[in-house]
C-alpha cells in the first residue's frame, strides 16, 4: 500500500528556505577566514609577459598573491575522452588553475589575491600590474577551423578537439537523402547560453595543519566527484584526508557539476597560507567563468518519401567547446547528442557528424539537457518545417513516423540507429492528450481569424524523447567516460526503527529530502517522519556521483531501493526467529512481518530494536540493520512527451508573446507529482528562455557583450503564462521504482515548440526559418525581407 508514493507531499526542506535558514556556502564564516579575489584577463587571447604584484602585496591586509608560476602545474581534467574518427586521442591541453603564459578567454584567472577582507582583496586586485601582449582572437566555431585562424592552443591544429560520428554509414545515408522525394534542410546556430543559477558559485577551503586534512565547502551538484577529481587528477591529495561538503545549493542546471579551477585553487591556497579562504563569484565573474551551454553551428537534412515517412536524417555540426575542456564538455555534443537522433521516429538511416572546436571563449559544457536539447531542436524544428514545406499537418506527419508503443516488458525495447535501445514508450498517448488539452481544431479556426485581425497566432509542436538516468558504467566507460555513473544508497536503521538514508545524489532544488523519504517510508511501511535523508557531505555519505542528467531518482533512488531490499531481507530473518516461524511463511507489509494466514506479527520497530539488542537472536546472524548498496543502471531511461506552444506575434514590432504552453510528459512512475510538475515548469521556462530571450554574444575581440543582467535576458514572471501540464505513465521497465527522470524534460521539449510556433505564425509571409533567440528584431527583419 502506498501512503506516500504518488502523493504531493509538501516539501520538508521548505521550512528552512522560507524562513531564511537555508545554509548556502557563502553564508558560512570560519574563524580566521581570508578572502580571495581574482585578477582576470581582460583580453580574449593574450600573452602574459609579466605580472608585477609588488604594489598589491604591499597593500594593507593582503596575505598572499599567487600566479601561474606558483601553481601552473596543477590543472583540472576533462572527465570524458572522445577519440577522433581515426582513433587518435582527442586534444586535451592543460587547463591550469591560474593562466600560464597565455590567457585564452576573457575572465580567465590570471592571479589570485588573498587578503584579510574582501575589501582589501578587491582593492589589491587593482594594484596587480599585468603586462599583456594581445593576440588575434576567434570566438566562432566555424571560423576557428578555417586555415589561418588564430590558434587557441599551440598544439591543436585548426583548433579541432576531435571529430566524431555516430549512426549508419554516411554514404548510405547520403544516398537515401539524395533519392528522397522531399528533403528539408536547415542551417542554424543553437546559440550559446549562460546557465545563471541565482546562487553564484562559492567555495571555502579550510586546511587543518595538525591533522593534515582539508575541508572544502562548495556549491556543487556532486561533492564526491569533486573530491575524486581534485584529489586524483589535480592536486594529488589523499582522498581520506579531504572532506567535501555541499550544503544547500542555489540551483545548478549543470553549471555546478564541473570541477572548476577556482575550487582546486582555494583548496591549494588554504594549505599555503594555513588559513581558511573563501571565494564567492560575483555575477560578472559568473557570466565569464561558469561553463556555458549549447553553441552548435548545424546543417541538418531530413529526407521523406511520398507518404511523409522519413527515409534518412543527417546532421553536421561544429560544437564550440570554448577555450578549455570542462568536465563533461566532450560528452555533450557526442554521446549525449548524436545518440538522440532517432527521436520518436522510425527513421531507418541516420548519420550525425560533429567537429568539436576550441575558441577564445568561456568553456562550454552541459546545461540543462546537455546535448539532448540541441538534437531535439534539430529534429523537432525540422519536423514542423518539413510539415510546412510539404503542406502536411505537423501532427499527422509525426503520427506517420512515430515508433509504435512498446512497454519494454511484453514488447522489446526499441533499438535505434544511434546505439541506444529505448526502454519503453507510447508517443501517441502524450500527443493525443496534449491535443485534447489544446483543442487543436478550434485553434486552427482562431488562427485563421487572427490573421484577418492583424494579429499573428502560431502553434508549435515538439514530441521529444530524451535519454537520462545517466548511466550504465560499462557503456559509458567504453565510450570514454573516465568515471562510473552508478550511485550509492546507504540505509541505516536506528535501534528505535527510525531510518537515516545517505545518498550520493545531491539536491539543489529537486526536493530529495521529501521524495526520497516518500518511497523509503512506503517501502518500509513506516511514517515519513521516521525517515531522514542525508546528502552533500563526503564524510557522511560513502560515495556518490551526484545529481545531473535527470539521474537522481532513477539511479540514486534505485541504490536506496537495493539497500531497502537488504534491510527487509535481513529483517525477515530476525522476524522469523522472533515469531518462531519459517522465513518463507512470512510476508512483509505495512511495516510488519506477519505469519501468513495468522495474526502473529512483529513490527519493523521491534525487529530494529532486536537487531541492535540481539539477546534473543538468530544464530550466526550479525547484529545491526544497516546496508549500503551501489546501483549501476542497465540502461538509460527515456522520458518523452508532447509540448505545444501558442504564440502571438506583434506584426508591428516583431515581439513574440507566449500565450499558452501545454505539456503532456511521460517520465515513468511519479513519486511526488507536485515536485515533478515543478521540474517541468522550471524546465519549460528555461526552454522558452532559449527560444525567445537568451544568448551569449561576443564581439569581434572576444569581449562578452551580454555579461550582465542589463544585457542577458532571462524569463521574468511577466514573460510567461501559467503552464498547462498533464502526464501519461509508461513505467521504466529496468529500475525498481519504474521512474525515468523529469529534471531536463521541460527544457528539452520546450525550445523547439516555441520556435516552431513562431514559424507557424509568420511562415505564411514567405519566411523559411528564423534563428534563436527569436528577438523582436529578428522577427521584424524576417517579416520585412
Amino acid at each position: 500500500m502506498s501512503n506516500y508514493i504518488g502523493k504531493s507531499i509538501k516539501r520538508r526542506e521548505d521550512n528552512r528556505f522560507i524562513t531564511g535558514k537555508g545554509k548556502y556556502t557563502d553564508d558560512l564564516v570560519l574563524t580566521g577566514m581570508t578572502h580571495l579575489a581574482f585578477v582576470r584577463s581582460p583580453y580574449a587571447h593574450a600573452k602574459i609577459k609579466n605580472i608585477n604584484t609588488k604594489a598589491a602585496l604591499a597593500h594593507p591586509g593582503v596575505v598572499a598573491i599567487y600566479t601561474g608560476d606558483d601553481c601552473g602545474n596543477f590543472g583540472v581534467p576533462c572527465g570524458w575522452q572522445v577519440n577522433f574518427k581515426n582513433g587518435d586521442t582527442m586534444k586535451e591541453p592543460p587547463h591550469p588553475l591560474l593562466a600560464v603564459g597565455k590567457a585564452r578567454h576573457v575572465g580567465e584567472n590570471v592571479a589570485a589575491v588573498i587578503a584579510e577582507t574582501l575589501q582589501a582583496a578587491r582593492d589589491a586586485v587593482e594594484l596587480v600590474e599585468v603586462d599583456y601582449d594581445e593576440l588575434p582572437t576567434v570566438t566562432d566555431a566555424k571560423a576557428a577551423i578555417q586555415p589561418g585562424a588564430p590558434q587557441v592552443h599551440d598544439d591543436v591544429p585548426n583548433n579541432i578537439v576531435f571529430d566524431f560520428q555516430i549512426g549508419n554509414p554516411k554514404d548510405e545515408v547520403n544516398a537515401a537523402i539524395e533519392s528522397a522525394s522531399h528533403v528539408t534542410k536547415l542551417n542554424f546556430k543553437n546559440q550559446r547560453l549562460s546557465p545563471n543559477a541565482i546562487e553564484p558559485r562559492s567555495y571555502i577551503a579550510d586546511y587543518d595543519v595538525n591533522a593534515d586534512k582539508y575541508t572544502l565547502y562548495t556549491s556543487t551538484q556532486n561533492p564526491h566527484l569533486i573530491r575524486l577529481l581534485m584529489c586524483a587528477f589535480v592536486l594529488g591529495l589523499p582522498e581520506h584526508k579531504v572532506r567535501v561538503i555541499s550544503h544547500d545549493v542555489g540551483g545548478g542546471f549543470g553549471s555546478k557539476i564541473y570541477h572548476y579551477t577556482e575550487e582546486a585553487l582555494v583548496t591549494w591556497v588554504s594549505k599555503q597560507i594555513g588559513r581558511p579562504v573563501k571565494w564567492t563569484s560575483d555575477r560578472s565573474e559568473a557570466f565569464l567563468t561558469d561553463a556555458h551551454g549549447r553553441d552548435h553551428v548545424t546543417t541538418a537534412e531530413m529526407g521523406f518519401d511520398d507518404n511523409g515517412k522519413i527515409v534518412a536524417f543527417r546532421v553536421h555540426s561544429e560544437a564550440n567547446l570554448g577555450a578549455y575542456l570542462s568536465t563533461f564538455s566532450t560528452a555533450c555534443p557526442t554521446y549525449l547528442h548524436g545518440t538522440l537522433a532517432q527521436g520518436c521516429y522510425t527513421t531507418p538511416l541516420i548519420n550525425v557528424d560533429i567537429t568539436a572546436v576550441f575558441t577564445n571563449t568561456t568553456p562550454v559544457d552541459a546545461y540543462r539537457g546537455a546535448g539532448r536539447p540541441e538534437m531535439t531542436y534539430i529534429l523537432e524544428h525540422l519536423m514542423d518545417t518539413a510539415a510546412l514545406e510539404m503542406k502536411r499537418d505537423p501532427v499527422e506527419l509525426r503520427r506517420i513516423n512515430f515508433i509504435p508503443a512498446f512497454d519494454g516488458v511484453n514488447q522489446p525495447g526499441y533499438q535505434t540507429q544511434v546505439a541506444l535501445q529505448y526502454d519503453s514508450g507510447n508517443y501517441h498517448a502524450t500527443l493525443d492528450r496534449a491535443l485534447e488539452m489544446l483543442d487543436y481544431k478550434q485553434f486552427r479556426k482562431d488562427q485563421e481569424e487572427s490573421r484577418t485581425n492583424g494579429k499573428l497566432l502560431g502553434i508549435g509542436f515538439s514530441t521529444y524523447i530524451e535519454a537520462c538516468g545517466i548511466a550504465p558504467s560499462a557503456v559509458v566507460g567504453s565510450l570514454g567516460a573516465r568515471a562510473g555513473l552508478y550511485e550509492s544508497g546507504h540505509v541505516r536503521v536506528q535501534p528505535t526503527g527510525k531510518v537515516s538514508v545517505f545518498t550520493g545524489s545531491h539536491s539543489h532544488g529537486q526536493g530529495h529530502e521529501t521524495s526520497y523519504a516518500q518511497f523509503v517510508a512506503d517501502t518500509l511501511g513506516i511514517p515519513i517522519d521516521d525517515v531522514d535523508i542525508i546528502h552533500g557531505d563526503t564524510n557522511e555519505v560513502a560515495f556518490g556521483m551526484g545529481t545531473y542528467g535527470s539521474r537522481s531518482l532513477a539511479v540514486g533512488g534505485s541504490a536506496i531501493m537495493k539497500s531497502l531490499d537488504k534491510i527487509i531481507e535481513k529483517g525477515a530473518k530476525i522476524a522469523a526467529h522472533k515469531l518462531e516461524a519459517a522465513e518463507a511463511d512470512l510476508e512483509f507489509a505495512e511495516g510488519k512481518w506477519t505469519v501468513k494466514g495468522t495474526d502473529k506479527s512483529i513490527t519493523f520497530g521491534d525487529v530494529s530494536l532486536t537487531a541492535y539488542v540481539p539477546h534473543d537472536y538468530p544464530a550466526g546472524l550479525e547484529p545491526g540493520l544497516d546496508f549500503s548498496s551501489f546501483y549501476d543502471p542497465t540502461n538509460f531511461t527515456y522520458p518523452f512527451g508532447t509540448h505545444i506552444a501558442v504564440v502571438e506575434v506583434d506584426k508591428d514590432t516583431g515581439k513574440v508573446s507566449l500565450k499558452r504552453f501545454i505539456a503532456c510528459d511521460d517520465v515513468g512512475n511519479v513519486i511526488n507529482p507536485m515536485i515533478v510538475d515543478g521540474q517541468i515548469h522550471g524546465g519549460v521556462a528555461q526552454g522558452v528562455g532559449q527560444a525567445l530571450l537568451e544568448g551569449v554574444v561576443y564581439d569581434e575581440n572576444g569581449q562578452m557583450i551580454t555579461g550582465s543582467y542589463m544585457d542577458y535576458a532571462m524569463p521574468r514572471a511577466d514573460d510567461l503564462p501559467f503552464f498547462e501540464t498533464d502526464r501519461k505513465v509508461t513505467p521504466c521497465p529496468h529500475n525498481p521504482l519504474g521512474v525515468k527522470g523529469a529534471g531536463e524534460a521541460g527544457t528539452i521539449g520546450a525550445t523547439p515548440a516555441v520556435a516552431n510556433a513562431v514559424m507557424d505564425a509568420i511562415s505564411h509571409l514567405g519566411i523559411k526559418d528564423i534563428q534563436m533567440p527569436i528577438t523582436p528584431e529578428r522577427v521584424w527583419r524576417a517579416m520585412n525581407s
Binding site: L118, Q119, R122, D123, E126, D282, S284, D652, T653, K655, L693, V697, I705, T706, Y709, M710, D711, Y712, A713, M714, D719, T775, P776, E777, W780, R781
Partner: protein, 269 residues
C-alpha cells in the same frame, strides 16, 4: 562586489550639500536613492573619493501644485510619483512613465532627480520632460537656475548640470492629455524606445528616449502632424543619429521609434 574606498558624508540641507560639493570638487558624487551610482561603484566603473548623501534632506521629496505646474522634488521616488494622486490627476503621463521604470523595488528607492542627473540615454523620464516642456530647477553655490529639457540632456550620461550643482526640483506644466508608451529591453527593462506624447489644445508634443544618445523632442513629427498619426510618425527619427546595440540595430530602433510614436499619438484622447 565592493566599491573602492570612499568617504561618506550625509548632508542635512541643500546649502550643506552644495558646500560639500564645492569643497570636494569633481572627486565627489551625490547619492540619493543610489540605484544608478551604487552598482557602478561596485563594478568599479565609478570611483568617487567622496559620496555626499542628499537622500534625507528635508523638503526635497514633496510634490506640489504651483499654478499651471507641478513641482516635483528631486528626491521623490519613482513609486511616489507613480502613485501620487495629484500627479495621476494633473499629469498622468508622468505617473505612467514613473510606473514603467525598472521594478517595484527600484521604484521604491530610485529618485527622479537621480535618474535625470545620471542621464542614461534609455531612461524613461526624459521623454516626458521634453514633451511637457518641463524645467529642471538646479542650485549651485552661486545660485539657482532653471534648465529646459532640451538644454539639459546633452549625451550619454552627460547633462547641463554643473559639477557643483544639484537638482532641486522638476517643474512640469500640468497636462491632462498625455501618454507614455515604451518598448522595454527584455533584460534591463530600460526603454529601447520610449515615446511621450502630450496634446495641448490643437498642438501636440513628442519626446523620444532610448533612440539617440540623449532624449529629444521629435519636432519633425510635431510639425507634420495633421491628425494622421501614421504619416507624422514617419518623421520620428528625422535628423537623429539613432543608436545601435546588440538587441536593436539603428534600423530596427528607428522603426520602433516610428511605431511607438504612431501608437502614442493614436492613444491621445
Amino acid at each position: 562586489m565592493i566599491p573602492a574606498k570612499f568617504e561618506y558624508i550625509k548632508a542635512s540641507s541643500v546649502s550643506e550639500a552644495l558646500a560639500l560639493l564645492d569643497k570636494h570638487g569633481d572627486d565627489a558624487q551625490l547619492i540619493a536613492g543610489g540605484h544608478s551610482l551604487v552598482p557602478a561603484m561596485k563594478l568599479r566603473l565609478n570611483q568617487p573619493g567622496t559620496v555626499i548623501d542628499i537622500g534625507k534632506i528635508p523638503g526635497l521629496n514633496s510634490i506640489k501644485e504651483d499654478g499651471d505646474d507641478l513641482v516635483i522634488g528631486a528626491n521623490c521616488t519613482h513609486h511616489q510619483i507613480a502613485t501620487s494622486p495629484i500627479v495621476k490627476q494633473k499629469l498622468n503621463v508622468l505617473a505612467q512613465t514613473a510606473k514603467s521604470i525598472g521594478d517595484i523595488q527600484v521604484r521604491n528607492k530610485g529618485t527622479i532627480g537621480g535618474s535625470l542627473a545620471h542621464a542614461d540615454p534609455a531612461a524613461d523620464y526624459p521623454a516626458v520632460i521634453l514633451a511637457s516642456d518641463a524645467k529642471i530647477e538646479v542650485e549651485g553655490i552661486n545660485g539657482k537656475r532653471s534648465i529646459s529639457g532640451s538644454d539639459f540632456f546633452q549625451g550619454i550620461y552627460a547633462t547641463a548640470l554643473g559639477s557643483h550643482e544639484m537638482i532641486i526640483a522638476i517643474r512640469i506644466p500640468k497636462a491632462s492629455n498625455g501618454v507614455y508608451l515604451k518598448f522595454s529591453h527584455p533584460a534591463s527593462r530600460f526603454a529601447v524606445v520610449g515615446c511621450a506624447a502630450i496634446k495641448n489644445g490643437a498642438g501636440i508634443s513628442i519626446g523620444l528616449t532610448g533612440v539617440a544618445d540623449h532624449a529629444y523632442r521629435a519636432s519633425a513629427v510635431e510639425r507634420a502632424y495633421d491628425g494622421d498619426a501614421k504619416a507624422a510618425s514617419e518623421h520620428a527619427v528625422d535628423g537623429v543619429a539613432v543608436m545601435s546595440d546588440n538587441f536593436a540595430s539603428s534600423e530596427y530602433r528607428s522603426h520602433l521609434a516610428k511605431v511607438f510614436t504612431e501608437r502614442a499619438l493614436s492613444a491621445l484622447g
